[in-house]
Symmetry: D2
């Protein structure tokens, strides 16, 4: 367990005064907040793709990082070495969960069968590592966007043959997720969208995708997989327009196609690309009973693409944790760091800095959000703001007892203009800053 | 009928070679395209707010335009003068429809009753003008965003008293629209949204709004109003986040609340602010059977607010007309120019230039789109692209006869990789330019 | 001094544990940081326009706030009442500086002379208030964007007559600023830009503007005004394209026209609209020796217009204070809150909440930035990063002693690839969060 | 010459009525417009990188295109095959110019010397191909962004060793460009910028870059290279902030460092990412006497990254050609298609469709812009708009004869408000559409 990160010891909690960048200042996994430990609240996961397979390539150049676990020329040896590195990293960092795409953990073979066999072999190794370490799988998924065959989409591909390849990968990824006890299965439609509307039958493509989801659910039921299905919205990139634009778009899709077994996996960088805050997207999901999980990261407001930076902004994290806590906390979901060190952050230590920074930020946010809820200033503002609907005519309206004409008559009966009530945003911003620690 | 625009004669069609900016080069209202006249296809409307009440104010200064119909100090005299100016403009321009908000046509009074009385009086005058000129009302609506009482919203206001004022205006605007034979009634939720999520109960506000829509429908049924209800999406401005963000968001809302009597009024500038093309928004609506009407205008891609420019870009207009024609054309909807001359375009002629430019653009677009559909190159590309789902196993999948495992087996049975099929965007762009005239 | 805000006492410093929203938790004006008091470091100013003349109007509705100092029908009485309210607010808030546009403090008259006379009269009153309270003027400026005559610009107007009106206002605003001992004079070119490039001679307009700046400087010298001239960049709004797009654009303009007497007044909301961080804009100015002053506020990354929110984000403020402190601190500049309560924040208290929130944020940022500089982790990273240029061949290059061929020969002489050095962004983000208090 | 594109004949001009997508409808290279042929006006170039080396990779997947000229495993054989394919493509397409980066045409070797030797060998082969075909080199450049060693920049790298590698490549790319008779040499600073301001000494980096430019110029003089140096601005991507943000930023940089031998290479997609129109960027360059060349392409307004689409929008092209023609036309510059087929446009034909679409668009734009200049409506509007500065007091001001007080006195002498003059944007948009063919 000291093969790939020999210079890094297990990351410890040292408290807020520590200046050690390889220690936690806020994430104390056993600290209890409102009856649950931080570990239980936050359910941190490390993602396999960026962390172990991503080397920093971008449209203007190849990867920069040199990773010892990728040194073998044999893809399967690489796969096993990477799994060793991953579990060493998970353990030293101290996270309870991990996440993967099929192609992150096992190489694609020359045929469907060979790909399946590769995957099964690696999954079996991963199962052993899980058992040894106590690590759990937050979720698995199929990569339907990297291979050139998916250039026009996976589940929305206009070519039925390619569509079948997508279905095959989903089936196998479900098998793998089930074998590893995954608590969720995610659909992220990297290439599900269009480049130009005028070669596209959007309605037919979305119908295919909906049907595919239903077949996946039927298969999950068949094999006994009980995990939660999740869709991860994103507005654009790589496609010009992605079908799962944002949470509301996904909800419209689910309702249009009568799908009731899917929740939302919200990614902040995707939210901001769609011109929403992460908290907004979570609230929209929560209001529909669909808040599933979070792919924790952060974008750059000056740029228009998916930068997948580590989430270190305390305001964003507090806003998210407020919504999560008020929604009752995660059930099957968690906080998966879908983030990567910058292309120029090439040291092995940078992998740790990124995750530690993110984990401490959300830990701090959990404490702050919990104290804000306890303090009650915000909820008092909200309660008071809507109180006119709590009794009297307002309550009658909510109970469905008033007509449009009744409402008009109430307005007409007023001797004077309704009192002007401040929205108090500036006060709310003071309250937020007062709680920041 | 020469009181306010004495220097402008009725705008005539002079054909593509004319260089007269006060003539149509493409809009020949009686020209028949595929069995309908241009007038019937395009159903142009002039909006009352920008055209007759807007003077060019912006956040950095008051209006600049000086309009003779606003010269009286008496609000009701102003209202009648403006109605005269409007019908003179409609007639000289040669549009068949107009649109209004309640507060555009009649001044708010000191009480609800006085506002109602003002509105009724002006509506009665408008009815007379309609009868005289043959003009029709495309749609009416209530302005629930300008008055300070609506600073926290109309139908989503947290104060029940303000909510009742909103309901009263909707009732009266419905009465007015009905009296004038309006073919639609529009909800544009200028202040329906939030400034900051943390003083807001989004779920409760949206429930109130849904209930209000249902009460409005019940009232419409009661009075015999048969027009189509429409919601106009917009992502932001004036609010930080508008609830009716885009077409998909509105669809989610309608389905969440079981509302089946509302279609979409799509505005291009709102579409682009939401990071969509106008054609995309129309297609999303059409795919859901909800394409209602268009508030024709155009934004500025370099800026992030609602500039409401006249729509003069032929590509955008062709894309929109392709979707409209393929959807079967407008039923109750039309093309309403929700656009205004720039703040520095202060001449009365500029009002005509703006509308003529927009009308000619969509007329040209109608011809081009119709020829493109006739030519068939685009539809051939689309048909061929999805043909693998038209028979064989692809058709079996669409018929619901295959399981996930069946699909996997088809993929596994292939001896080689699916053929690579180009998306041909570059060819499509040549085809578009070939049709541009 | 209790005429307009009778319910508000002087705002006091109560320390970080206070939960009183009408108290400072960090801004302790006499606390000494590195040899200067907080008051001397931060040089807070309140702006006259938003705070006393802004009522919350936006493109979709008129103002909402009802202000007692604007209750008179007589413009000059309004002006004096407003001045009383302003100095009561300044004093209770405890800021040392204020800022104004000519038209904020005195009404425009029917003629140039009448406007001048109004302005002189109010300036004389303001001088008296300054003397009584010890308040100072950070800067004055002329409003060349609100009046309809400036719809095509002030100093860049294509009409020479309008240009003369702009010049007249600048002359008088300089006189007023000089009379009040202003430490700076600001040019913000609200309408200096274009709506459409194709009716515009950008080169001629910018030459006019440059010449006007030189005439203004000559006049300032003539009257003995020693204040610093500042230009405030903004990329867009109200114009489609503003000439003073960002700091670099202003630097190019100043150099093109050999203007050496102007520095930069940086506004964060304008910076972010131009796709920069505020710290970036300050650094560009500082590197050119042109960091003048700050119009402290904040935008909304989800929206594309100038929201002018109060600056309460601690990260942004720390980044800005790091640049300011490393540049040696403000000389004539300061932190002017060019921010306004939201349109729905209609209480008088909201004016205080906004400013207190902003003042506490920058006070906290001053402490944090100062501790970060003292701690030295960041400067160590930077020093080490560039050390290869500090001696040896790198230093020879910097001294101008090497040719392109010499540099090539150094590269060719290396036996192996240069060592890969991490940029360490993730570590830097941990360091930032470690210092946040 | 039929080795790689055997199914494609030389592309011919067939006129506007042709529906053949593999023919020109507007680009008739020998047609004379205002005394120059279309070929001389437009000076089309094909870029080597996207066209022959780009396979469609993006951040979410590897390339999709399969190119026969890249089939060899030996890098030098690949290089020669690619050169053959390129010249076959150039000839069949009928463009007079090409452009390259050093690493596009010749593989990097294990040492600086080996890279130099590879480059010299391929350049010698390219020279032969140029001689055989009459093709010319528009410009060459060095790729200082793809290799991992440049992850922190080339000419602005904080490590002197890496900086020397950048210098070596520039020297060799200058030699290659000179050997091939290149008419320009371009700097595009792919990694010249920063990821986070707080590990960066921007001032020192920019000084290094300025010094490097001067060394490059000295070396060019030494070897007798007479081509024009160009900088290509871009605001972001791959870096968070690119130093050459836009044209104005580059002008500020050039003036700050007294560099007078560099002009601008403007790319439309970079312009729009910087929130400018392409025409704006060209006008800013032209006004400073720095309009050099154009990297013709187009972005996607819905997305925030460099999509490098082919330029097929006729409005954009007309706007650009208006500025170019009014600036006197290209001298050493031209229209280089820095554009690529979409990732899903995998056919060899798509390479032709893309270029033909772009060439026809700019040819059509040349005709339209020339007719608009001939027609004179736009220039009449501009002339009239500024006429008050052409004589009388306006002319005296321009001649430097008036003081600020003189200008004030002119304003004060006016008996009434200046006349209101419309900006006529709506009319201008009609004029644009009237000329579109």
């Amino acid at each position: 367990m000291d093969r790939f990160f020999p210079n890094i010891d297990k990351i410890k909690y040292e408290g807020p005064k520590s200046k050690n960048p390889l220690a936690f200042k806020y994430y104390d996994e056993n600290r209890v907040i409102n009856g649950k430990t931080m570990k239980e609240h936050l359910r941190y996961a490390v993602c396999y793709w960026h962390t172990f397979r991503g080397l920093g390539h971008d449209p203007f150049g190849p990867g920069t990082a040199v990773r010892p676990w990728l040194s073998s020329d044999d893809p399967m040896t690489q796969a096993f070495d990477t799994m060793d590195a991953a579990f060493e990293f998970f353990t030293k960092l101290g996270v309870p969960f991990w996440c993967f795409h099929d192609r992150d953990i096992a190489p694609e073979g020359a045929t469907v069968e060979e790909s399946e066999s590769n995957l099964r072999e690696v999954v079996s190794y991963a199962k052993k590592k899980q058992d040894e370490t106590g690590m759990k799988l937050l979720w698995g998924t199929a990569n339907l966007f990297s291979h050139p065959r998916f250039m026009n989409g996976g589940g929305t591909n206009p070519d039925f043959d390619v569509f079948c390849y997508a279905a095959a990968q989903i089936k196998n990824a479900l098998d793998a997720t089930h074998a590893l006890g995954g608590e969720n299965y995610v659909f992220w439609g990297g290439r599900e969208g269009y480049d130009i509307l005028f070669n596209t039958d959007m309605k037919r493509e979305l119908k295919h995708f909906a049907d595919l989801l239903k077949l996946a659910k039927a298969y999950a039921d068949e094999i006994g997989f009980k995990g939660q299905f999740l869709i991860e919205p994103k507005p654009m990139e790589p496609s010009t327009h992605q079908y799962d634009f944002d949470t509301a778009t996904v909800i419209a899709f689910l309702k249009e196609h009568d799908i009731d077994f899917v929740k939302i996996n919200m990614e902040p960088n995707h939210a901001t690309l769609a011109l929403h805050t992460a908290a907004h997207e979570l609230q929209v999901a929560a209001d529909a009973g669909l808040l599933g999980s979070i792919d924790a990261n952060r974008g750059n407001f000056q740029n228009g693409w998916d930068t997948d930076q580590f989430p270190t902004n305390i305001y964003d994290a507090v806003e998210m944790m407020l919504v999560v806590l008020k929604d009752g906390g995660f059930e099957t979901g968690g906080l998966n760091f879908d983030a990567k060190p910058r292309r120029a952050s090439t040291d092995l230590e940078d992998m740790f800095y990124g995750h530690i920074g993110g984990m401490d930020t959300f830990a701090r946010a959990l404490i702050i959000a919990s104290e804000m809820i306890e303090g009650g200033e915000l909820s008092d503002i909200v309660t008071k703001r809507y109180s006119s609907f709590d009794d009297g005519k307002g309550a009658e309206f909510e109970a469905g007892k008033l007509s449009l004409t009744d409402l008009r008559d109430i307005a007409a009966s007023k001797a004077e203009e309704p009192a002007q009530t401040s929205g108090q945003r500036e006060l709310i911003e003071i309250i937020f800053n007062d709680y920041i620690l």
